[in-house]
């Protein structure tokens, strides 16, 4: 029974993290963007600097009417937010936070598992785009699919580079094999991975699929209320997952001073910093055009990631 209780506890912990961290990132985004743009951002909800703004938003979303367009494919339309959200929840399970089994569930092919499941998340966008019976949504869906196809490859390749370096695809295993000099060694791969991840999440500057000024909000045009909130949640959960993964794979995860006891803190700090970078990029860069987007993936990121793999292989052979 101990093991059962252990599993349940771990799952609950993961669920809590899943519910809290995206909100934190969201609130941070509000405030960081505001300050970068020379304004204050939400200030009233909850009193202190509007800390409860997102809670209020959630309440507002929950109160709104759940509209399903008449021409829409009802079931798919309703199912889409869940499909978009669940994979990130699953991924969180496999991400190690600290040493010594401080992880939801140690999966043998963890890296593989994480990437595979993250790939499923995009299905939600596709379903939403198609089922809305709206040409903007459909365009958004098609763009999503094209973008996913393009950026999945460099992401997998750079992840493979790390796996090669570590000699394992298990996430805790990778962290166990980590040395500080991996950071300069894998820095190119890290940048590529992070960039590709941003594109998969359709975050600015890769938010072509949801470009509000062109196709309203892409696949999410027709969504209201709670389902829309779930999509937003999925996006922020995605940010968390991506940042955590980048931290684990390329920045050493829980490695740091006093990692034995404060490992989880290091992970969180690194994740937070990366999340800040994500927000920062959103404010700093204009949106890419669709062809620029594809060109970036196929002519820059993929060659870079291949170069990274080559470098990894060479170094690996040299030091072994």
């Amino acid at each position: 029974m101990d093991s059962t209780l252990d599993v349940v506890l771990r799952l609950v912990a993961v669920l809590v993290v899943f519910l809290v961290l995206p909100l934190v990132v969201g609130q941070t985004e509000h405030k960081v963007m505001a300050h970068m743009q020379g304004r204050l951002g939400p200030m009233y909800a909850g009193g202190f600097h509007g800390w409860a703004q997102l809670v209020a938003d959630g309440v507002k979303f929950a109160q709104k009417e759940d509209v399903v367009p008449a021409a829409a494919d009802r079931r798919v339309f309703q199912l889409a937010p869940a499909v978009a959200l669940l994979p990130y929840l699953l991924v969180l399970i496999a991400i190690p936070v600290g040493p010594h089994g401080f992880v939801g569930e140690a999966v043998d092919a963890g890296l593989f598992f994480v990437l595979a499941v993250m790939g499923v998340g995009v299905l939600g966008s596709l379903m939403a785009g198609w089922a809305s019976a709206n040409k903007f949504s459909l365009l958004g869906g098609v763009r999503t699919a094209a973008q996913l196809m393009a950026y999945e490859v460099p992401m997998l390749l750079t992840a493979a580079s790390v796996a090669m370096a570590a000699g394992t695809v298990s996430l805790p295993g990778i962290l166990d094999a980590f040395h500080w000099w991996w950071i300069p060694w894998q820095i190119v791969g890290g940048l590529v991975f992070f960039t590709a991840g941003l594109a998969e999440l359709q975050r600015p500057p890769f938010d072509m699929p949801v470009a509000d000024s062109e196709i309203i909000f892409g696949a999410y045009t027709e969504y209201t209320g709670l389902r829309f909130a779930l999509f937003l949640l999925a996006e922020y959960a995605g940010i968390v997952v991506l940042c955590a993964l980048t931290a684990v794979l390329f920045l050493g995860g829980w490695h740091g001073p006093m990692s034995g006891s404060l490992g989880w803190l290091w992970t969180l700090v690194k994740t937070g910093l990366l999340a800040f970078v994500v927000i920062w990029l959103r404010v700093s860069y204009p949106r890419l055009r669709e062809d620029q987007l594809q060109k970036l993936a196929w002519t820059i990121l993929i060659p870079l990631s291949l170069a990274q793999i080559a470098l990894t292989g060479v170094v690996k052979v040299v030091i072994s």
């Binding site: 021409a71 494919d73 043998d108 299905l123 379903m127 089922a131 098609v142 699919a145 996913l148 196809m149």
Partner: protein, 181 residues
């Protein structure tokens, strides 16, 4: 399955077996829906379910690596491509009355005949065969990687050439020449 289960050789199905049968039934149902539903996109989504179910079956058969590859390639890429194709070919929302061709009954006859024959043969042949799932995992990443790059390197490389050819082919096929528009 019932026919097989009724055989005296089958005693006390294990937990894995129960899970396998249940997931298998779900997979089969999803597959059936995939080939019978009249809503094109639903077919793709049911296919996701069927493929995911198969991934679970792989997991149950201790082929963990293949399971994740299945999820990564099939669910993450192939189905996305299929949906992409459906959207580009303007798949309608709702039922398409012409989703099935006039061949339906011939096809059904052939499929049922094939199913009957194969099930009969397979059950007849492997009625009492037992898979020992204990011991070292048959399909862990380490094992798979080791054999793949030790014994199967040549086919693996050949396959990479094939993939490259497919990539080039797909690009050539989808490239619009100037005179088309």
């Amino acid at each position: 399955m019932n026919l097989a289960a009724a055989h005296p050789g089958f005693l006390s199905p294990t937990g894995v077996e129960v899970a396998f049968v249940l997931v298998g039934l779900a997979t089969l149902g999803a597959a059936l829906l995939t080939v019978t539903t009249r809503q094109l996109v639903h077919a793709a989504l049911w296919l996701v379910v069927a493929l995911g179910g198969l991934a679970v079956e792989y997991l149950l058969l201790t082929a963990e690596f293949i399971a994740w590859v299945q999820v990564l390639i099939y669910v993450g890429s192939v189905v996305v491509l299929l949906l992409f194709g459906l959207m580009l070919t303007k798949a309608p929302i709702g039922r398409s009355p012409d989703a099935d061709s006039g061949n339906r009954w011939v096809a059904l006859a052939v499929a049922v005949a094939a199913a009957g024959t194969l099930v009969w043969v397979v059950v007849d042949a492997f009625r009492t065969t037992w898979i020992d799932l204990g011991g070292p995992a048959q399909g862990s990443t380490e094992v798979t990687g080791a054999i793949l790059f030790r014994h199967w390197v040549l086919p693996f490389e050949a396959l990479s050439v094939l993939l490259l050819a497919a990539l080039v082919g797909a690009i050539v096929l989808s490239k619009r020449t100037g005179r088309e528009r």
